[in-house]
Symmetry: C2
Subunit: 222 residues, 2 copies
């Protein structure tokens, strides 16, 4: 009996994940409002009975999809090779390079579920807006940690020798990404998004000068 | 009789403009898919009969709204004070300052109809996507003209002393704007968008060094 229970629980977990994965694709393909529960079920090859076993409503699914998307992204970025670079500036530039490298496949595969949902639902679905804000903010705070470390390593201090903050720069990186996705959708081409990330990288390189190597330091007049 | 005809034409023109203005607000408030013809009529204080006199369908309205939005923006930017600045770098920075200055009022008043529509409709409504791409591209080309002049005035030449183009930088400015609107919607606050425009301005200032004044030139060693 315990074994059967466990199998049933595993199957339910599996069907919930299938519905969430389907939601990620369908909502990114046609937007939140245009997505019907039937579309999700069809994409997941599951019934509406299964859907309503796991979710009370489309909005509940939207909230769970936002969490699912964030958890996936968090895992992806957390385990990316650039995370282990010792210099925080290298990690920051590595993040931009990584975001550029994953502009692959179809638009619903690389664009952002959170940006897509909040764009249209910010006014009509306060819980969706709040979830998108929370997860966009959480990701920005991860980027902000590297920016703060990069600022410390280069001696950049707000209100002292710079007129910007780690937080504002972190959100700026996210604005560039979100806007790049919109242009990629308009042009049906990731190339414009890649060009935008090149500009973002150039800006970051200008803000954070290369670390002086011991040889470079020694070559300066005493 | 000609006078009555003219009055009737004026009334029709007026009702069409009311529907288009209503579309601009309603679509920017709740997105394209969630917007119903009834919502537009209610906001315009007009009947569905009037709507279908002017537009065959919601998609037809969406296309006309995109054109209407672009024409409005084109007039607004074309007549803005920064347009008459003699230095193209000043015009470019003036554009960013102007975009920051018009982050006023409610989100549906300052966000972009084109970015909102293409975000959700790019896959399901090819004509909407194509219109958004055309008008976003037209606006970017106006910005590109100032960027190209700014590059010429500062001796910046792609593949010679820089590795970017006027076109890619023009689209980058639009990506920052579009992404800023998404963050403003998530946070329900224009402050984050203003901070992003400050970062964009800082990048442009770094790319385009100030023009040497005659006095500054003279002070350099011969």
């Amino acid at each position: 009996m315990p074994s059967t229970n466990t199998q049933a629980q595993a199957a339910q977990h599996d069907s919930k994940t299938k519905l969430l994965d389907a939601a990620l694709y369908v909502i990114r393909a046609k937007g939140y409002s245009a997505t019907r529960v039937e579309d999700i079920c069809e994409a997941a090859h599951l019934t509406k009975g299964s859907f309503f076993h796991h979710f009370k409503s489309k909005e509940d699914l939207g909230l769970a999809a936002a969490e699912h998307f964030y958890a996936m992204a968090d895992g992806l970025f957390g385990q990316a090779p650039y995370r282990s670079l010792p210099d925080p500036v290298d990690r920051l530039l590595g993040y931009v390079d990584f975001r550029k490298a994953i502009l692959r496949g179809e638009l619903p595969e690389y664009t952002c579920l959170l940006g897509t949902m909040v764009q249209e639902a910010y006014e009509t679905h306060p819980r969706i807006r709040e979830a998108c804000d929370r997860y966009l903010g959480s990701h920005a705070r991860d980027v902000e940690a590297d920016i703060a470390a990069a600022m410390a390593s280069r001696g950049l201090r707000p209100n002292l020798n710079i007129d910007w903050t780690a937080e504002s720069l972190a959100f700026y990186t996210q604005a560039v990404l979100q806007g790049s996705f919109i242009l990629a959708k308009a042009q049906r081409n990731a190339a414009v998004a890649a060009d935008c990330l090149d500009h973002l990288r150039r800006y970051l390189e200008m803000l954070f000068p290369p670390k002086q190597t011991p040889a470079a330091s020694q070559s300066q007049p005493a």
